[in-house]
Symmetry: C2
């Protein structure tokens, strides 16, 4: 496994990698990340991952400084699933003095875009850079960040990146809690209770599928259930899976998306509701 600290190092390594799948990450790996890397091995000759905690996608009030970092463990985990190359640039050298922003209108303005202004500009800019450095044939992202997938899909289409995108299902704990590096912030008891976020999504999905309650009533009672369980919801919405626009009536392939704080930790999750 080749570890590249600079753009030039990765470029030198690139020709030997053949048809390449890239998994962009911020490190702090769990089974969710590893499943994306394994998927990469299935669909390409080689898998590269990037590890970069992107300062551009964190607001000053976000958890950038505390975001979990465990590079040696990450490298070992990547190697264990057969990753061929890692691009892990120094933060300073990769983003210092950067004046260019890639900004995706429409889908990036809603939900996460509203609650984390500038977040998706940071994501789109860094993902563009990672694509241009690593030149993958395929890029793989987890559906846990569902809106991020939609933003990147729009960007790849708009700018004609010659890259095929694959979005993979969210990996979950046995409790249903979506795997996330931020789960590390919880005590074991908090983590056990955090699964109520997924329970609420599942219950709303069942209500959409099986009841004749209105969408707005279902969303309202979901939010209330979260509040009753000590979550502070930022949004709980039923949306179009491509535009992320809210839907007041049932559609065949809607998505339930949620963001909520629990014991100070901001969690997001989503599930598909297929009628």
């Amino acid at each position: 496994m080749k570890i590249c600290r600079t753009v030039e190092e990765f470029r030198r390594a690139r020709p030997e990698l053949g048809k390449l799948a890239l998994v962009p990450t911020m490190g702090a790996f769990h089974e969710g990340h590893l499943s994306l890397m394994k998927k990469g091995k299935e669909v390409a000759d080689s898998v590269a991952i990037s590890i970069f905690v992107n300062p551009l996608q964190f607001a000053p009030t976000d958890d950038l400084a505390n975001y979990p970092r465990q590079e040696e463990e990450d490298f070992a985990m990547a190697e264990s699933v057969g990753v061929d190359a890692i691009f892990a640039p120094e933060t300073a050298s990769f983003t210092q003095g950067i004046k260019t922003t890639v900004s995706v209108g429409g889908v990036s303005r809603l939900w996460e875009g509203e609650h984390r202004p500038g977040h998706f500009d940071g994501v789109a800019t860094i993902v563009s850079k990672l694509f241009l450095v690593t030149q993958p044939d395929i890029a793989i992202f987890g559906q846990k960040d569902f809106q991020q997938c939609a933003v990147i899909a729009q960007m790849v289409e708009d700018l004609n990146f010659p890259i095929q995108l694959q979005f993979e299902p969210t990996m979950r704990e046995e409790s249903g809690l979506a795997m996330s590096s931020r789960n590390e912030y919880f005590t074991p008891d908090q983590k056990a209770k955090a699964c109520h976020l997924h329970d609420t999504l599942m219950s709303a999905s069942t209500q959409i599928k099986e009841s004749d309650q209105s969408i707005s009533d279902i969303l309202l009672s979901s939010q209330r259930s979260l509040t009753d369980h000590n979550f502070a919801p930022e949004y709980f919405a039923y949306v179009d899976p491509v535009t992320l626009e809210p839907k007041e009536h049932r559609i065949s392939n809607g998505r339930l998306i949620v963001a909520a704080r629990f014991h100070g930790v901001r969690l997001i999750d989503n599930i598909g509701v297929f009628l």
Copy 2:
């Protein structure tokens, strides 16, 4: 010479082109364009040009609708200098519904950026698309659009485009008038008089090199000279060649840049002042 109307067509043609130089254009060719294409032949295996009158870089009040279009002549001229491939997409299919913007801070905010709001966002977005479609090894631009060169250099560095940039000197009429597709708008008499723009640049350069007048006095008298000759100057400035920031004192490699309207036609020009 291969003519490609769609992204897919160009992508299919790309492998045969080997080491590729791209000359992005808006068509309406003159000797300036042809000199860039010839340069491309010198530095790469193949030369591709793009012809795309980019609606994103024109303001509603600009001359988009009237911008000269002469596709058949352009194709013949390109072929005559050995161009290997042309990417000439339909406007609608190439930019319709696009929601992503590439925006270069700093250098793109000054001068043309002030007088043509959104112009450089349009340029950076389309040039990104053209780079991603054509995947050139080298891209060649004319220094006539000096600030555009600086904006693209910043973008290529910031986003890690794996492309080497070459900026070529402005081609001029015998009178000194910079060649431009917009010169077509002039009557012969107006065109003859339009060379005063270049005369004024040359005279300011001489004053910077040989007199001890202050920069601000030199710029002021240059503007006055333009006004006296029926030009309506938008700016006449002495700037750093990378950041485009105005310089109040002499530097070793300053640039004089100017934009002015003459008989309703907006002209830009620039020259290097090397001390």
